[in-house]
C-alpha cells in the first residue's frame, strides 16, 4: 500500500467509525468500491475537500449528516423492477403462500417503497391482500416517510406500467394509483397493508416470523462478512419452507448459509428455506 492509499483507508475508517459512534449507523462493513463513489459525490455536494473535512462537518452538524445519509442509503428503484422476478412470485410462490391462513412478507431495505407496493399489487390481484401483512423496513427515515406517502413522479409510470404488464399484471396499473399532474399516489388499500418501519440489517436482529422475505439489491452494498450477518437475520426470520427473494445478480452461492436453503426459482434468485 502506498502512503497515499494508507492515508485514504485511514480517513475512510475514521469517518465511518465517527458516524457509527455518534449516529449509530453502521457503514463500516459496506462494500468499499460503491461506498467510495457515494462519498465522493457527497464531498462535492457538501463542499468538503477530504473525508476528514466531511467527518468534522457531520460530527458538528446533524443536518450535514442527514444529507450524507441520503448519499449513502437512497436507491431509486422501479415498480416491478425485473418483471420475471415478480412473475415468479405471482405464479410460483403465491400458490404456496395461499395455503396459509395469513401471509406475512418482509421487504428488507425498502428504500422509497417501490418493491413493497409491487408485492401489494400482486397480492391484491390474487385476492390475498386482505389476509396479508407486508413489513417494509429501511435504515433511512426520510426514505421510509416517502415510501409511506406512496407518491411517485408521473413520468415514471410509463416504465412502471410496462414492467407491470411484463410481470403478468392482470389489468391495468392505473387501477392502483391516482394521478395528479406531476405526481401519482398509490392506492390507499395498498398502503393500508404495508407497515413501514426502521430496521438495520447491519445492527438489528429478526423481529417477526414471515413466509416471504424480499431483499433485492441490498446485499450488493455489503462486504462479505456483513452479507453473512444479514443473510443470517433473513434466514432466522423465515418460517420453515419460507421463501427468500434476492436481486437478479445476488446469490447465496458464496454464503455459508447456502445449505439452509434450496434454489426454488434459480433464474429469478428465489430460494426456499429448508
Amino acid at each position: 500500500m502506498s502512503a497515499e492509499e494508507e492515508h485514504s483507508a485511514l480517513e475512510l475508517g475514521l469517518l465511518l467509525e465517527a458516524i457509527y459512534q455518534k449516529y449509530h449507523y453502521d457503514f463500516r462493513q459496506y462494500a468499499e468500491a460503491s461506498l467510495r463513489r457515494r462519498l465522493s459525490a457527497a464531498l462535492v455536494q457538501l463542499r468538503c475537500a477530504t473525508l476528514s473535512d466531511l467527518q468534522r462537518r457531520v460530527l458538528h452538524e446533524p443536518k450535514a449528516f442527514s444529507e450524507l445519509l441520503r448519499f449513502l442509503t437512497v436507491q431509486v428503484s422501479e415498480l416491478f423492477r425485473d418483471p420475471p422476478y415478480y412473475r415468479a412470485i405471482r405464479e410460483r410462490v403465491l400458490p404456496y403462500l395461499r395455503t396459509y391462513p395469513s401471509i406475512k412478507i418482509w421487504v428488507a431495505g425498502c428504500s422509497t417503497g417501490e418493491e413493497a407496493y409491487s408485492l401489494a399489487i400482486i397480492l391484491q390481484e390474487e385476492g390475498l391482500l386482505d389476509r396479508a401483512m407486508i413489513y417494509a423496513t429501511d435504515i433511512n427515515g426520510e426514505s421510509l416517510r416517502a415510501a409511506e406517502a406512496g407518491v411517485y413522479q408521473s413520468d415514471r409510470f410509463a416504465r412502471f406500467s410496462e414492467n407491470y404488464l411484463a410481470a403478468g399484471g392482470r389489468g391495468s396499473l392505473s387501477e392502483f394509483y391516482t394521478a395528479n399532474y406531476a405526481s401519482a399516489v398509490m392506492d390507499r388499500s395498498l398502503r393500508k397493508a404495508i407497515l413501514f418501519s426502521d430496521h438495520s440489517l447491519a445492527t438489528d436482529s429478526t423481529f417477526a416470523e414471515v413466509e416471504l422475505v424480499s431483499c433485492r439489491n441490498v446485499l450488493i452494498y455489503f462486504e462479505r462478512e456483513l452479507q453473512e450477518r444479514a443473510i443470517g437475520v433473513l434466514r432466522d426470520s423465515l418460517c420453515r419452507k419460507g421463501f427468500l427473494g434476492l436481486g437478479s445478480k445476488e446469490t447465496l452461492r458464496f454464503s455459508a448459509h447456502a445449505p439452509a436453503f434450496t434454489e426454488f426459482a434459480s433464474d429469478e434468485r428465489i430460494y426456499q428455506r429448508i
Binding site: 468500491a33 450488493i220 445478480k249
Partner: protein, 198 residues
Amino acid sequence: MVTTPRPIDALVIGGSAGALEVLMTVLPALPRDLSAAVVIVLHLAPHKPSYLRDVLSQRTALAVREPDDKEPMLPGTVYVGPPNYHLLIERNRTLALSVDDAVNFSRPSIDVLFESAAEALGPSVAGVLLTGANDDGARGLARIRASGGITVVQSPETASASAMPEAGIRAAAIDHVLPPERIGPLLVELAKRSGGSR
C-alpha cells in the same frame, strides 16, 4: 533497481456504439491461458436481457461470464457487465455490482468500472476505451493513468463513433492509440510482461 514492467492482471474495456464489432476483432486474439482477467462494460439497453455473453462466447477461447455480485475475478476469464447495474472491482479482486444512479446517462457506466479498477488495483490495470458516442470512460481512463496503469484507446479514425476515444485522448495521457486489429496483440503482450517493479 530492475525496471521490468509489472504484469497487467486486469484488462478493463469500455465502449458504446459500434464497440461490439470491435470486441469481435479483439477477443479472438486472446489465448486460453491469458494470465489476466478481462472486464468489459458496454452501454446496453437497461430493460432488455443482454445477449452479450452469448455473442462474445462464440468469438473467444476464454470463458465469458455475466458475473454475480462478489464473484472472484479470475485470470483467463471475460466478465461482461449486466444491463442496468454498474460493475465495479474491489480491492480483494472480487467483482461488485450497484444500482446507483446512472453516470453519464449510463448504467453500466465505463467511468464507474475504470475508476474502481484504478482504485482497487492501481498499476496492474490496463484500461481500453473503444468506439462510442459520448465521453463516458474518459475520466476513468485518466484515473487509471494517474494510478500507474496503462491506457489504450481505439484510434478515432477507425471508430464508428469517435467521440468516446477522442474524449479519452483529451482527458488522459494515452500509452497506445491503436486500430482494432492491433489491440488484441497488445493486450496479450501486457498480460505477459514478467513481474518486477516499474
